[in-house]
């Protein structure tokens, strides 16, 4: 799973809450269940809250990469928790 290539990518490191999650939601809308999206976000509030919100909506975080530049890249499987 961790090595699977993402089907989509969204960068939310240029926006703040609540636009962060909105942007991810819009991007996920385009996908089918089981597809993978790569999301780049800032450390701090986005990494604290966005993955938790994804969990609440039934999407599964499968891998988190610390880019060591103040950002994280996470891989999310659409509907992976449903």
């Amino acid at each position: 799973m961790a090595d699977k290539k993402a089907d989509a990518f969204v960068d939310i490191s240029d926006v703040v809450c609540p636009i962060t999650f909105v942007k991810v939601k819009v991007a996920i809308e385009e996908l089918e269940d089981g597809q993978l999206i790569e999301v780049k976000m800032n450390e701090g509030e986005p990494i604290q809250n966005v993955p938790r919100s994804l969990k609440d909506e039934g999407h599964k975080v499968t891998r988190v990469i610390n880019n060591n530049d103040g950002t994280f890249t996470i891989y999310v499987e659409k509907g992976g928790l449903v």
């Binding site: 938790r52 969990k55 988190v64 610390n66």
Partner: protein, 287 residues
């Protein structure tokens, strides 16, 4: 003319105003909640006996200013009809404050509202050497500012890792504020250094596979002050997992203050004077 016992009135929630024979009436509010039908009674009383407004206090309370001395008994009767009671002022346990806790808030780690009611029933208005404030906050976000209270209670979650559920995604490591989790994704290994954990519960809340389980508990702080002197309440005990033990700790703390506190001396100042280790000793005995 009979003399007015202002001290007794203050004890019962009637604070003397600058204006002669007028009082700001404090209501007994628990955990910052009031029923909407009671709010209607508050409205009616402030219209009929006050000046048509209420004051929201700094500790989630409601006061109705401009209640006249001659109306006090009548106002009390009106309040009783809707189950409203007057609050407390002076040297005793004050309003128990609380955030909405995990009943409402996604960040909440404990049930704060029911705990506030429990504490109110047991300790509200108990006479002590000085005012004594108790506040409950549901998590480390600390919306209810636990450490500014004489006794503060904060929700915590003690995490436990279940290897078989873990997919080593690395999210818990990313969200952990104390950096006590480290994951090696390639080798599928996780290390957790429990001693440095602050029980914030973020690993548990964020984990996509529920590989982290959490046990809810109370983190108690003592001796906080935010008045003439400001000091932050200190944590002296490990996280507490049962209401029963929490009550023992509160009871022991109030007994300690009653025994060692001087009239007009806040709890934190008593501890500074007699020594914090003395309280610690008493608390360890009840644990």
């Amino acid at each position: 003319m009979t003399s007015v016992d202002y001290k007794e009135l203050k004890k019962g929630g009637f604070m003397r105003q600058v204006q002669p024979d007028h009082f700001s009436m404090r209501l007994r509010i628990v955990g910052g909640q009031i029923k909407s039908e009671q709010l209607r009674a508050v409205y009616e009383i402030s219209q009929k006996y006050g000046q048509g407004y209420v004051h929201m206090t700094s500790r989630q309370g409601i006061e109705i200013p401009f209640i006249k001395l001659k109306d006090i008994e009548e106002v009390k009767k009106e309040m009783a009809k809707s189950g409203l009671q007057t609050g407390a002022c002076g040297a005793r346990v004050r309003t128990i404050t609380a955030c909405q806790g995990n009943t409402i808030c996604p960040s909440g780690l404990i049930e704060t509202t029911s705990l506030a009611q429990e504490l109110d029933e047991k300790y509200f208005a108990r006479d002590l050497p000085h005012k004594f404030k108790i506040g409950i906050t549901g998590c480390r976000n600390n919306c209810l500012k636990a450490e500014e209270n004489d006794l503060g209670i904060k929700g915590g979650l003690k995490p436990k890792w279940n290897e078989t559920e873990c997919i080593f995604c690395g999210l818990c490591e990313a969200v952990c504020p104390t950096k006590v989790i480290s994951i090696n994704q390639d080798e599928q290994k996780l290390e957790y250094e429990e001693s440095g954990c602050n029980f914030c519960g973020r690993c548990v809340k964020s984990c996509p596979t529920d590989a982290w389980e959490g046990q809810s508990g109370f983190i108690v702080s003592f001796g906080g002050l935010f008045g003439n002197k400001i000091s932050v309440g200190k944590q002296m005990l490990p996280i507490i997992f049962s209401n029963e033990v929490l009550h023992k700790v509160i009871e022991a703390t109030l007994t300690f203050f009653d025994k060692h506190g001087k009239p007009g001396e806040r709890f934190g100042n008593t501890l500074d004077r007699v020594g914090w280790d003395l309280l610690e000793k008493d608390l360890k005995e009840v644990l």
